[in-house]
């Protein structure tokens, strides 16, 4: 196994092309499901973080029913357990390596749960694929949560004030004023997260998900060549990610037109 790239070695890779094709499908499917799980999770987390569930809220006012001007009771009245849990989740997931998370999910959580050993589409091993998607989805949920939250908070505070001063309630303000403006800011970032996940999903070959990277490994094991299959994988990943990100940038430019104040 030497590092020099030989044209003849590429012909040795050709018989394994179907593995790359299947790997490509696995990578794409995994990314799609990851973004879906991640988005739903992120939406829940973002709503939790921005929620106003304060069980000790009654402590915020004094006996005359007026707002306190400081102190421990005011701080306690603002404690929001939902927000605390969501923040803890996001910070832990963002402060630990994704490979550690994947191993914990695969060996720890799904080590205790017996998944059906079924094979989907003839080549997707469900008991590997599913833990991989769950782990990646949980990870990207933490990142997407911050994207959604910052998108909502990027809407100028004057918008809320104007809306509330007209007598609209906080939920009407969210629905008619904040969300429509925030979604415009959020969508490109979510699409970019999709590209990030396509690349990041390569790491799931470590738990035996048969994606593009695992095809490289298979070729290496069978033929003892490494550079050529790696280059094939590089080309596939590039052809997947580069046009996608260019497409996103195009739509981002189109959407930002006319939305500036």
């Amino acid at each position: 196994m030497d590092g020099f790239i030989k044209l003849s070695n590429f012909s040795k890779v050709v018989p394994y092309m179907s593995m790359f094709r299947e790997g490509l499908m696995v990578t794409i499917l995994m990314s799609v499901f990851t973004v879906l799980i991640g988005f739903v999770l992120a939406l829940i987390l973002a709503l939790m973080r921005m929620s106003n569930v304060c069980p000790f809220h009654f402590l915020s006012t004094d006996k005359d029913g007026r707002l306190r001007d400081g102190g421990f009771l005011l701080a306690l009245s603002r404690f929001n357990p939902l927000s605390f849990l969501a923040t803890a989740y996001v910070e832990i997931l963002r402060s630990t390596p994704v490979i550690v998370q994947i191993f914990i999910i695969y060996y720890g959580v799904f080590g205790m749960i017996d998944l059906p050993k079924v094979t989907l589409l003839g080549y997707i091993k469900f008991d590997r694929f599913f833990p991989g998607v769950v782990a990646l989805g949980m990870n990207s949920g933490a990142y997407l949560c911050e994207i959604i939250r910052s998108g909502l908070q990027s809407v100028d505070g004057g918008q809320t004030e104007a809306s509330r001063s007209l007598g609209l309630s906080s939920s009407q303000t969210m629905r008619f004023i904040i969300l429509p403006q925030a979604i415009r800011n959020i969508l490109p970032a979510i699409a970019n997260e999709f590209v990030v996940i396509i690349k990041e999903s390569a790491i799931t070959y470590t738990i035996g998900v048969q994606d593009i990277m695992s095809a490289v490994n298979a070729v290496k094991g069978a033929t003892f060549i490494i550079m050529e299959p790696l280059l094939v994988a590089t080309a596939i990943y590039f052809c997947l990610c580069f046009p996608t990100s260019k497409l996103i940038a195009y739509f981002e430019r189109r959407m930002s037109r006319g939305s500036k104040r």
Binding site: R66, L67, G158, Q159, S165, L166, G167, I177, S259
Partner: protein
Amino acid sequence: MAASVNSLIQVRDLKKHYNKGTIKALDGVSVDIEKGDVMVVIGPSGSGKSTFLRSLNLMEEPTGGSIVFDGQDITKKKIRNAEGKLVKLNIDQYRQKMGMVFQHFNLFPHMTILDNMTLAPIQVKHMDKAEAEAKALALLDRVGLKDRAGAYPIQLSGGQKQRVAIVRALAMEPQVMLFDEPTSALDPEMVGEVLDVMKQLAREGMTMVVVTHEMGFAREVGNRMLFMADGKLLEEGTPEELFSNPQHPRLQDFLSKVL
């Protein structure tokens, strides 16, 4: 203060303290706003005049004192209803009767001018769409912007945006209009067109509270004037009295700088 029973808004000992009272943005302001008043609030920056104005519709939550509007102390978070049960005060109900105009216009950029104006009448007052639009167009016509009804805020000049912001608030038929430095963010040549709309509004008898640096406007249109500094109301009177015969040294000092 016996006459104050009929005041539109009664403000008593209004306080806004931060950090356990070490910072006092508002420190005991009491004033009665009568129906038809055009009350101009002046003062150096940081004097609490914006905080005072923004407290009137609870954009800022005061930490003390009371604001009685429409027969209700709106600083209370909970009130007793007709059956004597303690219920949450619905502040939206009172806010819709107070129009507010901001320094930075705060039009909704994702909606047309017409939609900006009809959103609250339709959603809050449950007016039907055709009626709300007819009303909005009539209001736009009054400020000379009927032909821009289908435009987006970005397509308008600053002065036009502020005129739309004023009629957007008027579309809710408020009992009082609050203006928070409505001309401060405008280019000088656009100040006049906004002040003209406000003057017209004053002539029609609208109750207005205006925080402004436009001394000419204050003198010409205001019938009452407040001078604030350090969160306190230092002097009150007609604009004529305050301009020609200021009593408090802070006001004398302030006027010497701005006039």
